[in-house]
Symmetry: C2
Subunit: 353 residues, 2 copies
């Protein structure tokens, strides 16, 4: 079914049909209705590329993220999709796998009107952001979320990274930790630096000395990270508290503690930024700083549609900061007596056969 056949079927010119399908003001409402109903009945779909050339609309937004295998980003995308769906838009998801090169390649791919707007959270390698400035210069609406480019004049949806790191570190101190390690993930991202600042300021406020040996720069190489964590936890002056700036590092720490027989929380108390669904089921359950990931995605999409619908908006007026939540569980507290009591019951049960 093409325009020509549709024209024959309706006994209207191709130009009239084309305008009716584009909802042009030149065509009467009655005719538009007639054309649209017939098109639907005959299952006619415009060639999207031809139709995009004319009306310059793709009804699609792109979300660029470091990785989908991450509870924070998958929830953020679900939030963005919930909003896009209300606008009858499709969402294209692109992964950069934490690689600047891939982020540049995706940006180039999106430079010429494939999508009406872009939401992005930077890769951990991204310090030079000229590829994103180029997108903005082309007039493509752009919104940053979570991992933002400070130097680009576009809306930024963030969370209180500094404050929640401060609170998480203070929680470890209040639970008796005197030597607290910080596992960082990237030296170039502003969120990573904000998290480290929160940690350092909490130490200072409680008269604990900053010790370079306890600040471990990790990346997304799991094997290399585990080696660094193992070295840290087997060193002579090992920490008794640990703050993980992303959940992957908390999981690696659990695995290392199992391997070297270190008890969490007796030997090491742990707090981690995390949206892990199974945090409460881990052994022991993990204390987390949990971000409102779904809401961040939804807010970012909401601001993006404001830009798409009104390009005159001042982007910096659209910055939003949301709040994280410290959820205290067994990994950071000494309250393990209950667990042991229930295990004693189990033991009794075994002994009784």
């Amino acid at each position: 079914m093409n325009l020509k056949q549709l024209s024959k079927e309706l006994n209207l010119s191709i130009s009239t049909i084309s305008k009716a399908l584009r909802d042009s003001a030149e065509i009467s409402i009655a005719t538009k209705k007639k054309v649209q109903e017939k098109a639907k009945e005959l299952n006619y779909h415009a060639n999207p590329f031809a139709s995009n050339l004319r009306n310059q609309k793709s009804n699609t937004i792109a979300v660029i993220i470091p990785a989908i295998a991450n509870n924070f980003f998958s929830s953020a995308i679900n939030g963005a999709e919930s909003f896009a769906q209300e606008k009858d838009y499709h969402v294209l998801i692109y992964q950069t796998h934490e690689a600047l090169e891939k982020e540049i390649s995706v940006s180039k791919h999106l430079q010429n009107g494939r999508v009406d707007g872009i939401m992005i959270s930077l890769s951990s390698e991204t310090s030079d952001t000229s590829h994103l400035a180029a997108l903005k210069d082309k007039g493509i609406p752009l919104v940053f979320f979570d991992r933002v480019a400070e130097n680009i004049d576009a809306p930024k949806i963030t969370v209180d990274d500094y404050e929640s790191s401060y609170i998480g570190t203070e929680h470890l101190i209040k639970n008796g930790c005197t030597k607290i390690a910080f596992l960082s993930i990237s030296n170039v991202l502003s969120i990573s630096n904000n998290r480290k600042r929160g940690y350092l300021d909490a130490l200072k406020a409680h008269n604990l000395i900053e010790d370079e040996r306890y600040i471990v720069d990790c990346n997304y190489d799991e094997t290399a990270n585990k080696l660094k964590i193992k070295n840290l936890l087997t060193s002579a002056n090992k920490p008794n508290g640990l703050f993980a700036s992303v959940e992957e590092l908390a999981i690696s720490t659990y695995e290392i503690c199992n391997e070297i027989n270190l008890n969490i929380p007796l030997d090491l108390k742990i707090v981690s930024f995390s949206n892990l669904q199974t945090a409460s089921l881990l052994n022991p359950s993990l204390t987390t700083i949990t971000q409102p990931a779904y809401e961040i995605g939804r807010e970012a999409a909401s601001v993006l549609f404001k830009l798409i619908e009104n390009k005159e908006i001042d982007p910096t007026s659209q910055n939003i900061e949301l709040k994280s939540k410290l959820i205290i569980r067994d990994s950071s507290t000494a309250k393990t007596v209950n667990n042991i009591a229930s295990t004693k019951k189990d033991l009794a049960q075994i002994l009784l056969g």
Copy 2:
């Protein structure tokens, strides 16, 4: 920078430049190189819609999945992307959120050449697959993976669902379970039915009686599922073994067991299909049937590119079945004495201050 400016810059006709950029055989290699280098230098990108109209290539494939917040699907996508990247293709990810309606909407969106090929894993609601048959009729290369449509003549990349369910159920029987529940996720998907058949045949082979009360039909409504699981585990004749056909149901079961104080594995032994990264860190660690998710995605992409590059291939000759793996951990075995011993050590440590 447009074609006209590029033409002026190079002192070549627009037609020559356009052909050179499309790698046409009519143009000499030397000229092509000159044009491509200048285009790169001046950062010229073809309008993708105009260029797609000419060469009918999008250099993009779509992957349609039920949800990205799922370790199996996120790994499968990573496998597909690894292959697409080698072909210099982009991957668009679409979520159906387990809804047939959304799957139909995405299929319509993709009907007119936006992508060169599609990989899909069905929503749990999809029994009528006419929207997918329509894609195939339009000549769009289509490959199914994991959750396949049996009645459509397209390549299917699957795993040994029947065999691994049989083995998982048998493992529970060998560990002393006599009353084994099966949590199913969909009555319409073939993989779900294959998993149930494996469970039933293992019961039969070991002279255990099939009991309708132990077969619980769940869906993707977490609250409703938990209620069903709670009813099952608090009933008079409650099971002592449980086989979860997807990992979400195992997680819900853990949560219910915590709530009603049922000990895993002493009161209930559990095996689940799962690619959960934290399976070994759960309390207790979870016995899983783990699928080669990354490989499934990569195989599916590999077959899809065969179809894209050679439309004459017989699709049914491309079916592939991969093998899952039973990974035995504490949730299904009685070996908890070690855990308790180490907890006794902790207890002593607490008592000693």
